[in-house]
Amino acid sequence: MRIYRLIILLSFALQGYHFSVAAQELESFLEDQMKETTDFTSATFKSTRILNGHSNELTKEGQLDFRISHRFGRINEGAYEFFGLDQAHIHLGLEYGIKDWVMVGIGRGTFEKTVDVFTKFSLLRQSTGVRNMPVSVTFMSGIYVNGLRWSDPERENYFRHRLSFVQQLMVTRKFSPGFSLQLTPSYLHRNFVETAADPNDIFALGAGSRLKLGKRVSLNAEYFYLFIPDVETLSTPIYNPLSLGIDIETGGHVFQIILTNSVGMTENAFLGHTTGRWLDGDIHIGFNISRVFQIKK
């Protein structure tokens, strides 16, 4: 009897050992599987723009984004001007994703009748897993062509004087599903300015954030600090652009309602020509509408 008991006990013990080894093997196998994948962060922002400026987001490969933006006049113009709504500045844009990591865009804006072209590259993507990257890094380069008639057609005018250029680096981190933050070092170069007191080169540091309020709604804020020693010495003083807005996502549309002290919707305009101040009530109501079409499967 004793021998039988011993055999039974031994067989249970061996089975237990066997199960324990199998569980450990499964666990380590799963761990290996987990380690072999990289989980890329997505939807840091809902649109390719935070409000005025670029976000780290790109139009996906084969997608065409048709963007319509409006900025109205200043709220402090009062009831006669319907708090600015009687005047509208418009920007229309077509933007296309060549690959998931590179997109191009062309647009035309009311401000200085400007045509703009840009390209944006994703250099690094925030990720966890095998490849652990704490931030996303995206680069944007834009060229802006002033389309106004020459102020003096009689003099010898040069096409290059219509051009300005912007380079931006978007360093972005999605801290949680509900909160994203972006820092945007920016460089604006203008080939031609009004007076010797106006800088051809303007450096700026932007900060933008997105706070998710609901499944389809988020609160966005964006600010650019311009590194200009004394704005009062410029022929026209310019101020730091600050924008607040709400993103509403509805199917293929992203709708952004904006309050901003900048009437310009392109980088050269809001970095180089923001003449309004929030504290003086120089605030513009505006909106961006983005509609994405799948062109290539």
Binding site: W101, V102, T119, F121, L123, F139, S141, I143, D152, P153, E154, R155, R160, H161, L163, F165, Q167, H189, N191, F192, V193, E194, T195, A196, D198, N200, D201
Partner: protein, 122 residues
């Protein structure tokens, strides 16, 4: 590598830069002093350059039915007409003629400043 190439292309594309400002680039158009405008020193040189091919004392009888703009008295008497003509205002014969276009802004401002100060013989 492909990404780096595209970034380099973007940098090259933006290399056609200049660092100009209107004030320095077109200095002759920028210095426009309309304080204490002198008839002899400021107005007559503009007239000589732009008007006397027809409106000098010598040419006026032949080209303009005698409408000369050389002497102070003649210019002063026609100052309103001159301002209307050089600004191409409605109701005035736009001058200069012959497809030369308007005078430059500084010349127009100088003549207007002189007329506004009472067309003095200074």
């Amino acid at each position: 590598m492909e990404k780096l190439m595209l970034v380099l292309i973007a940098v090259v594309v933006t290399a056609g830069c200049s660092w100009d400002d209107e004030e320095t680039f077109y200095p002759e158009l920028q210095i426009c002093d309309t304080l204490d405008v002198s008839f002899a020193m400021d107005v007559v040189p503009i007239m000589a350059m732009n008007c006397y091919s027809c409106h000098s004392n010598a040419n006026a009888p032949e080209f303009t039915s005698g409408f000369a703009l050389e002497d102070h008295a003649d210019v002063s008497a026609s100052s309103i007409r001159i301002v209307g003509a050089i600004n191409h205002n409605d109701g005035f014969l736009a001058m200069p003629r012959g497809g030369a276009g308007k005078l430059d802004t500084c010349s127009i401002n100088t003549i207007e400043a002189w007329v506004n100060s009472g067309s003095p013989d200074n």
